[in-house]
Amino acid sequence: MKLLFACVFGLFFYHLSAQHVSDTKQIFHKIDSQMIANPAKARDLIGFVKKNNQNKEVLNECSRLMVQAYYYENNYNEALQEIIQTENQQNVDGIIAYQSILYSAGIKNVDFNANYSENALFKINREILASNDLILQGSIAKAIQKTEGILPKITNENKHNYRDSFSFILVNLSENNRLSQFPGFHQSVLKIFSLYPDDLEFNILKKKLFPEIISDQWLLKTGNIIENTSNFRLKTLYYSFLQDYYFSKKDVSHYSLISQKKENQVSQGNKAITEARSQWIYLTETKTVDEYNFAEKRGLIILSAIVFLSCMILMVLFFKIRQEKLKGKNYQLFSDKLKTNARKKKEPQVISENVKLALLEKLEKLESTNFYLDPHISIQNLAKKLDSNSKYVSDIINTYKKKNFTAYINEMRIDYIKQKLNTETVYRSYKIKYLAEESGFSSHSVFSSVFKSIEGISPAQYIQNLNH
């Protein structure tokens, strides 16, 4: 079901887009038919297509046609601006049209960004323009030869590209009776005319180059078109044709009238060309300045990126080095501490004799306070009481009392209780547990065991012996 819906929608949109393409084609067809007789109307249609299309090819086609319309209207200002704005993305058809229009203003050295110099269609146009140059230089024989070589390359498919370039050849041949002086050119010229049978400009040119009986009807019909056309070139050509026509008819009044009209047209055309050249220099200069600014910006970005990246890497490295240095410092400190400790362990503590004697005196003073009766006494406690450290105290006890701390305390406790038992008979009646507590032992079993180890007999036996 989903697939069916997808197919229906797909077909619907395909139909819509096909319809759109077909509409655009029809409009382009209409533009083509209007372009020569009424370029202003053609421009309106181009504007409409441009507004309603996003397709790159269609937009390129619109730009090309727009430039041509402006050119036919003698509006070089707009034409050149459109050329400079769109030449980058233009296809070969467009570039050929642009080349011909620039050539019409005498601008031949154009460095198009889109490079079509090796394109066959572009080369043909270049050859047609070169042939026109030969006509202007007066090398008509060479021009004939060149044109004869070009014409077989022109087909129904590509002929629209060369319309303007061929019109330059025909217009220049029509000046100063050039064609009548070179009948060898007739065949090529007729072949060119046969390429554009429905084109009014070529129709007028044919009548100018091959004067024949002109019907009043044709004159009236063409006159009406010219009256209403915005095609400046067509108008100029028609006036030039009429000038020749009235000259041949010896019609002075019409000749004078049309000569004035033609002179106005020619002077307007020349003015537009002069301005176009000046404008093109300005536009290309602006373009090259923009290109230089772009290159400058790009260069600065590249350099900045190199410097920025390098600085970032250097900063990271700098911090890493700092980190490692700190780590190393810590290791060093730790190692030094370890070494000191190890050294301390290895080297015995040497206490001066004065310190020893002072400490011993303090200890003996403390002995008289019966400190050893404290059941929680430890070497640390004792050291604290003596304002010394446990190591020193232990050292003193070992050296001067010739025993370790535990034996020292135990012996003093046993001496104390023995003295009590000897001097105060009441103690003899006390329980062993009480005697142990009195002497600082935490349990009577430890007391008994220590007493026996020192005196060789148990506390109970000792009391018994005293009683006896």
């Binding site: 000046e175 004078s256 000569s259 200069e285 230089y292 390098s310 490295l317 490692e324």
Partner: protein, 381 residues
């Protein structure tokens, strides 16, 4: 209306600049000597000096101005523009305002003669701006007249005769104040072109007055040493053309034709002016109003022929200029790109070396720490 008398002034400007300078080198004096008689030789000599490396800035500005003028006269316009632009930059750097005005004036003049009106206007406006802020020494007073005259011509070319008249009047006042013999000839050019503008505006009485003022008489020719007679003849023929136009406008076509044909009669083959083009056009118009189609068409053809020749030369110059501009722009971008590549390489090498040194230091410290760490663990264990 066509204004075709500018080229004449270019010569006068160039002439003026060379006369007014004192050169340090004997070679430059030789170049100066050949400027009028053999401009190609003058150009070769100037190029030779330019290519020598021991030029100080002040001298280089002067030489570039000479090269600008001699290239302009020999119609090497692309080169003239190149030397002019280089000289202008140097003059700007050294804050030499008088030289700046001179360079801007001649550059504007070149573009004007190529009918590149926008560029011409750009340079002349710049020159005018500097002029407003600068007090010129009395020996250079004529420069003000030249710039104002060129501004007037620029407006005349773009068919704004109202504006042109204002500038011509200012130029005339400046030339009159300058009093040097060259300014007395240049003032006549200003009168002449003012008259042509007045004809364009149909002020025939005013035009006649200024045409009469612009005519150079024999006494003036002999008192203008240094200005070749041929140029003064061209000026007089241009005055005659103006009168012919006035007679045609007054419907005295026969009198007009008489003058026009007499101009063609005296025109010699080596003539450097474009007067004949305008003469043919006027003759064609005159014969048309006399209902003589054959003669009108014949002169129209001659006019078209002359115009086509001129157009051909102009197209050639324009395209050379475009080609040169494109080449210069590409060269500038290439130079900049290679500069960027060079600096990129330098930066990469410099920072690469720094990064390498830092990395080595880092690795060394890390290795040391690793040993330390290992050592400590071993000790602990």
């Amino acid at each position: 209306m066509k204004f075709r008398y500018l080229y004449f002034l270019i010569f006068l400007l160039g002439f003026d600049c060379f006369n007014g300078q004192k050169y340090d080198s004997l070679d430059v004096k030789a170049a100066e000597k050949y400027l009028i008689s053999n401009p190609e030789k003058a150009y070769d000599l100037s190029i030779k000096i330019y290519n020598s490396n021991d030029l100080d800035e002040k001298f280089k500005v002067r030489l570039l101005f000479s090269l600008l003028n001699v290239s302009n006269q020999t119609q090497k316009f692309s080169e003239a523009i190149r030397y002019g632009t280089e000289g202008l930059e140097l003059a700007e750097k050294s804050d030499n305002t008088v030289a700046q005005i001179k360079f801007l004036g001649v550059l504007g003049n070149i573009y004007q003669s190529l009918q590149v009106n926008d560029k011409a206007k750009f340079y002349l406006n710049k020159a005018e701006d500097i002029l407003k802020k600068t007090k010129l020494p009395s020996s250079e007073k004529h420069i003000r007249g030249n710039i104002l005259y060129l501004k007037g011509m620029n407006y005349a070319y773009t068919l704004d005769c109202d504006m042109a008249l204002g500038y011509f009047d200012q130029a005339i006042t400046s030339y009159q104040a300058a009093k040097d013999p060259l300014s007395q000839i240049n003032v006549k050019l200003a009168y002449l072109n003012k008259a042509h503008c007045l004809i364009e505006m149909n002020n025939l009485k005013g035009a006649e007055k200024y045409l009469n003022l612009s005519k150079v008489n024999d006494a003036e020719i002999s008192s203008s040493p240094g200005v070749p007679k041929v140029y003064l003849d061209i000026l007089n023929r241009s005055v005659d053309l103006g009168f012919a136009k006035i007679f045609a406008l007054k419907n005295d076509v026969n009198r007009s034709n008489e003058i026009l044909l007499s101009i063609l009669n005296v025109q010699n083959k080596k003539d450097i002016s474009d007067t004949d083009t305008d003469v043919y056009l006027q003759l064609s118009k005159n014969f048309l109003s006399l209902k003589n189609m054959d003669k009108s068409k014949a002169y129209e053809n001659l006019y078209q022929q002359k115009l086509a020749e001129k157009n051909k030369i102009q197209i050639e110059i324009l395209n050379n200029l475009l080609l040169q501009d494109q080449k210069n722009a590409d060269q500038k971008i290439d130079q900049y790109n290679s500069k960027i590549v060079k600096w990129s390489i330098v930066s990469v090498v410099f920072f690469g070396a720094l990064i390498l040194v830092f990395s080595l230091i880092f690795l060394k410290i890390k290795k040391k720490n690793k040993y330390f760490q290992k050592d400590l663990y071993n000790t602990d264990n």
